[in-house]
């Protein structure tokens, strides 16, 4: 019987969740959301002078990622999975695909925008659609 056990057996369901986990996840998410909102609201009310643009874009992305990890851990219970960590593996693959799609699209479109003059774009659209 023991020999028939496949690695899947070692993986338990997420049935060990506790109230404490959900409360910590909720409070952390609340904290990250309100911080991000507060920073941006302060900036807008002060007439866009308090923080630099780059700082705020960086700060909001970091806070979003922090909340992403908090929810993945506390709500979806990832990271509490026993080996083999198939869910984590699929998550990594998803992140890889997402990065390629998002960074690749922005890069290509920015590059096209940079290299083509408005005349070239118009000509391209005329060729493609028979008009603008």
């Amino acid at each position: 019987m023991a020999k028939m056990q496949t690695p899947v057996h070692a993986q338990h369901e997420t049935d060990h969740a506790t109230l404490g986990l959900y409360i910590s996840g909720f409070l952390l998410s609340l904290l990250f959301t309100l911080t991000a909102f507060g920073l941006v609201e302060e900036h807008v009310h002060s007439g866009h002078t308090v923080f630099s643009h780059q700082f705020l874009i960086g700060a909001t992305v970091v806070l979003a990622l922090a909340q992403f990890f908090a929810q993945i851990y506390f709500f979806l219970h990832l990271g509490r999975e026993t080996k083999p960590r198939w869910k984590l593996l699929v998550l990594f693959f998803m992140v890889l695909v997402v990065l390629i799609v998002v960074i690749g699209s922005i890069w290509i479109m920015y590059n096209l925008n940079y290299r083509m003059t408005p005349d070239q774009i118009n000509q391209y659209m005329i060729n493609q659609n028979g008009g603008i």
């Binding site: 959301t33 929810q71 695909v97 997402v98």
Partner: protein, 198 residues
Amino acid sequence: MSEVALGIQEEEREADVKTTFGFWVYIMTDCVLFASLFATYAVLHRNTFGGPSSNELFSLPYALAETLVLLTSSFTCGLAVLAAQRRNKNLVLACFAITALLGLTFLGLELHEFRDFVLQGDSWRRSGFLSSFFTLVGTHGLHITSGLIWMAVMIAQIQRRGLTRGTLRRLNLLSMFWHFLDVVWIFIFTIVYLQGVL
């Protein structure tokens, strides 16, 4: 005899683990769908074609209210899972009812925002920016809608059949789906709304 019973239990648990994993893979592919919509939005969000730009259009407190409603619903959905583990049927139903109400509130807020934009003449036909905005946020809204339908079915099933192995498994999948929608919304709130008004 007990060995056979144990074997069946093991088999059932393995089936549950496989179903959960399969659903997880679906959720991850759905993330790729949202990523492509985010990429489209990132490329198009400055192409306003003379229409309103994102900082003229969006109201941050309104978006924050939507965010808090959805976050709270994600939390109450987690409470439903906890109640299910304790086999407390009425508490499960109560938690799901609250979650569904909060989900409906969120959907109402979102549709109200859409309606205001369309009535101002800023529909998806106005500019590339608005097309990508409506596609991204609308796709999330569609997911929320299907989640709400699923939740209604779930509530009816639990009421009729109680907390059986089958309903418990689907309840766990539904909670995964609902938490996932909240995770996607974090990025919509950050990239579309917060960074939109900068």
